[in-house]
């Protein structure tokens, strides 16, 4: 079992503490360029929440245009408003492109892996910090160049080729207003994000493999850690492809200027294409290639954006229902299965793209099969709630929302897994509805729950339940009001990315529904301010939380809240799995922490025979 020598770790750990006890770290080292995984996590969290607001308001701009086309757009209209107070169509394309970009690259991926991964991994496996603290710091600070370059992209007019950046629209500067330097900046920024998350994933894998506390066998790891682990693997394997594709695209673009001026490869650019009376392109590239490369990353990325939330929700549900997770191993296995299958389904984004139709069949089957592990997880979550003692607090609500929204997102996925049906709904609002149900409905509700759940561990204070519930209610209602009707829009044949769908007669009658959607979207958007308020006010005025406010089992709950540098008073020793709620072994309380030693020792953990630590009976279902 690959665990660091506890003794060594302990000593190391202690003199660490003494060391730090004596002289305080400078402000910069403590709060800015901190190598403490908790501080980095909080930095990630705050940054991503900020970006959440940015991306959200971009989305509101999109919604405004769809509800009241060419009307004076508030804020955006004033800030970048073009002639006549109405926005221009290319500004609209920029809006949704940057919305997707910000939300995916600057919010969801970093908030899961960056914020919660960073915070939870060492705490949950009982390590004093990440394996590579400095690398960890860098992975946060590499996000800022990305943010800077995205900002620069705005400055140059904003990349406007969609977040998928299909060539030739994105490859030829003449093709679109946003395809000039804005696109270069976009590509550079995405590369930086890639570097950032790559650093993260390497760090997570190493930490999880090497730094688990004594007794923390693989099958005693909380599902959060499982999901983080698998996510890290996904990233490590998928990201290089995107980075490579990004560079290929950069080299394809002639107007790079400077040292790269001469390169002007044509990986994606076919010859003889004349865009807007510019000189015809040379060199037989293939635009389809980009789609393959891009989706080879971006489909796994969908799971990068989902799995950690799944893991965290599993932990939270168990804690909130006071009940062991239902089917721990199937949960872990299905996580792995999703990750594995996730690598061979990218083609389902390309059913209409003109790739060999025969390929469509294979991708269809694999895509449909990936629904299976998702289904298993869903049933297991319901099973977890089944027979539990449920307290309807904000955490529970968000977790249940996660499950139910994930069901909707998963089921609507079956439509587009079926190729012939996908032919019709591809690139319509049905797709928009689908991935918002998965990425927002599922992931973000999971994140909201996780914030509420681990906030006391982060800041030593509880978040306001009442505000949390209001926020949840408004968000949930606004969310469903916003995205559920989009299924219908899609079935009605409304394509995505239309600045003004209503010039097409068969879409005119959808305007009222779009207006309704926008109203809901604005409600949802404003509701997020409540979260922000709740967050900051709770930091100052929240009620004090002890070490284990939720009576949860995880290792992280034996650490002080907030945990000091080095996390634990002494190296924790793990005796059982994390889900021993309502265990009959203890009287008077319905939780049994992973680190509690209970004589007499029971039979060995079936998970791994090599474990030298005594373990509890039934730490895993057998």
């Amino acid at each position: 079992m690959s665990t660091v020598n506890p003794a060594a770790a302990a000593e190391h750990d202690h003199d660490h503490d003494d060391h730090h006890g004596h002289h305080e770290l400078s402000f910069i080292r403590k709060y800015v360029f901190s190598t403490d995984h908790k501080m980095i996590a909080v930095q990630f969290l705050i940054t991503t929440l900020l970006m959440l607001l940015v991306g959200g308001s971009l989305a509101l701009g999109v919604r405004w245009q769809l509800a009241w086309p060419w009307q004076n757009m508030p804020v955006f209209g004033q800030m970048f408003g073009s002639e006549g107070g109405q926005i221009s169509p290319e500004f609209y394309t920029m809006l949704f492109t940057m919305h997707a970009t910000v939300m995916i690259f600057l919010v969801i991926i970093p908030i899961l892996a960056g914020a919660f991964g960073n915070f939870l991994i060492p705490l949950m496996i009982g390590a004093d910090d990440m394996a590579f603290p400095t690398l960890n710091m860098l992975s946060y600070w590499f996000m800022w160049p990305a943010i800077f370059f995205f900002g620069l992209s705005f400055y140059f007019g904003g990349a406007a080729a969609g977040w998928t950046s299909y060539p030739l629209l994105s490859a030829l500067p003449e093709a679109a207003p946003g395809s000039g330097h804005a696109q270069n900046m976009w590509l550079v920024a995405v590369t930086f994000i890639g570097v950032s998350s790559m650093m993260g994933s390497v760090n997570y894998m190493t930490t999880i493999i090497n730094m688990r506390a004594p007794g923390m066998t693989l099958f005693r790891m909380p599902l959060t850690i499982w999901s983080m682990f698998i996510t890290a693997i996904l990233q490590a394997f998928a990201l290089p492809v995107l980075t490579a594709a990004g560079f290929m695209m950069l080299f394809d673009r002639a107007q790079l200027g400077g040292a790269l001026e001469g390169i002007h490869t044509s990986f994606f650019v076919p010859s003889g294409i004349v865009v807007n009376n510019a000189a015809p392109t040379v060199g037989g590239g293939q635009a389809l290639l980009w789609q393959h490369l891009f989706w080879f990353y971006s489909h796994p990325a969908v799971y990068i954006m989902l799995l950690p939330a799944m893991g965290m929700v599993s932990d939270m549900l168990a804690a909130m229902c006071r009940k062991p997770i239902f089917g721990y191993k199937p949960m872990a296995y299905s996580l792995a299965a999703i990750a594995g299958l996730g690598f061979i389904v990218w083609g389902h984004h390309m059913f209409t793209s003109g790739m060999n139709p025969a390929l469509g069949m294979t991708f269809m089957v694999s895509t449909i099969m990936i629904a299976l592990p998702s289904a298993i997880k869903t049933f297991n979550w319901i099973g977890t709630i089944w027979g539990g003692k449920i307290r309807f607090n904000t955490v529970t609500l968000n977790c249940i929302a996660f499950v139910s929204q994930f069901v909707v997102g998963g089921l609507s996925g079956i439509y587009m897994a079926a190729v012939p049906v996908d032919i019709y709904i591809h690139d319509t609002y049905f797709i928009v509805a689908h991935f918002h149900y998965v990425l927002f409905g599922a992931t973000l509700f999971g994140v909201f729950g996780a914030i509420q759940f681990w906030f006391p561990k982060m800041f030593g204070r509880m978040m306001s339940e009442r505000l949390g519930k209001i926020h949840f209610f408004l968000t949930f209602v606004g969310f469903n009001g916003t995205f559920f009707p989009m299924h219908l829009l899609g079935v009605a044949g409304m394509p995505r990315r239309y600045a003004d769908p209503y010039i097409h007669p068969y879409l005119e009658h959808l305007m009222p529904m779009n207006q309704f959607i926008t109203v809901c979207a604005i409600v949802m958007g404003l509701a997020q301010l409540i979260l922000v308020y709740n967050w900051f006010s709770s930091i100052y005025w929240g009620t004090e939380a002890g070490r284990n406010p939720w009576n949860a089992n995880g290792v992280e709950w034996i650490a002080p809240s907030p945990p000091p540098h080095g996390n634990f008073d002494e190296v924790p020793t793990v005796y059982r799995g994390p889900y021993e709620y309502s265990s009959p072994l203890v009287e008077g309380r319905d939780y049994l922490m992973q680190t509690e030693y209970l004589p007499p020792p029971g039979s060995d953990d079936s998970g791994d025979a090599a474990d030298d630590q005594p373990a509890e009976n039934g730490a895993d279902e057998s």
């Binding site: 865009v275 590239g285 600045a499 889900y579």
Partner: protein
């Protein structure tokens, strides 16, 4: 109190969702014009759609029902501990096998449609096109559809001839923009090209969608079996004017005559003896 509220909350919203879907056809939120597809294949796609909808609805009701049930029970669970269970192996097996079966069924059931839609014809291209084919070249560009028909009366017997025709403009070609005429009840074979960036040829009423890739000539075929005009839109982001690409596909009985008309229009030299001057010829010029 709040317990009941939240239980109801999680019970009611799925019901609302289902109701909304149920009334959607009545509210004209379903397929365009609430019409069935205008191509036989499209109708099969619709059937598939409704089949999946059926399965999905059942699953949805099931899951949501189960969820609300366990919530209801769990939230009014009075004993001081929850049910200490790590799951059930049998259940796991059941809810692995059953969904797998259903999913596999969906996967296999639809293969046929897809095969007809693209793969099968795609495989045996060596057979010549059926004489009933209308061949047309549709070139998408920012932001319009440029259409080229072979001279009226042209009959292609081999794909080689078609390729030759596609290769360069020919005398007597008929040009049009944004309005595509197709045979009624006969197969239409379209070669889709892009003059600049990627577009997508999307005719909702026909359930036809195909991306136009720059540098490629992609063939799509369909048979319209309902006369009328169908909206043609672009479904792949193609620049700032993406939404401007409004076109129309019209299925007509006598296509030859219609093409002839277009041709006359196109050959108009301003002094054609009165009577044969096509309507609006003085104003219209073909692109």
């Amino acid at each position: 109190m709040s317990r009941i509220f939240w239980c109801l909350f999680f019970t009611v919203w799925p019901i609302i969702a289902i109701v909304v879907c149920a009334i959607s056809p009545a509210m004209d939120w379903a397929f365009p014009g609430n019409r069935e597809a205008a191509t036989p294949l499209g109708q099969r796609i619709d059937d598939l759609f409704f089949l999946i909808t059926g399965i999905v609805t059942v699953t949805f009701i099931g899951t949501m029902g189960a969820l609300s049930y366990v919530l209801w029970k769990g939230s009014k669970n009075e004993d001081e501990k929850g049910w200490y269970s790590h799951g059930s192996h049998n259940l796991e097996v059941i809810w692995t096998i059953v969904p797998a079966g259903v999913l596999l069924f969906i996967a296999l059931y639809q293969l046929d449609v897809w095969a007809i839609y693209r793969v099968r014809d795609h495989e045996n291209r060596d057979v010549g096109p059926r004489p009933s084919h209308l061949v047309a070249e549709v070139t998408a560009r920012q932001f319009e559809w440029r259409i080229r028909y072979p001279a009226p009366g042209t009959k292609f017997t081999t794909y080689k001839q078609i390729k030759a025709w596609l290769a360069k403009p020919h005398a007597g070609d008929v040009y049009a923009v944004n309005k595509l005429f197709v045979h009624l009840n006969r197969e239409t074979l379209i070669y889709l090209k892009s003059a600049d960036v990627q577009h997508a040829f999307f005719v909702p009423d026909l359930r036809v969608k195909q991306d136009a890739m720059p540098g490629q000539s992609i063939d799509i075929w369909f048979t319209v079996n309902k006369s009328g005009k169908f909206n043609l839109t672009c479904a792949e982001l193609c620049g700032w004017g993406h939404y401007k690409m409004r076109g129309e596909v019209e299925a007509v009985e006598d296509l030859e005559a219609r093409l002839k008309e277009l041709k006359d229009l196109q050959d108009y030299d301003g002094v054609t003896p009165p009577g044969t001057v096509p309507a609006g010829a003085s104003e219209e010029a073909t692109p």
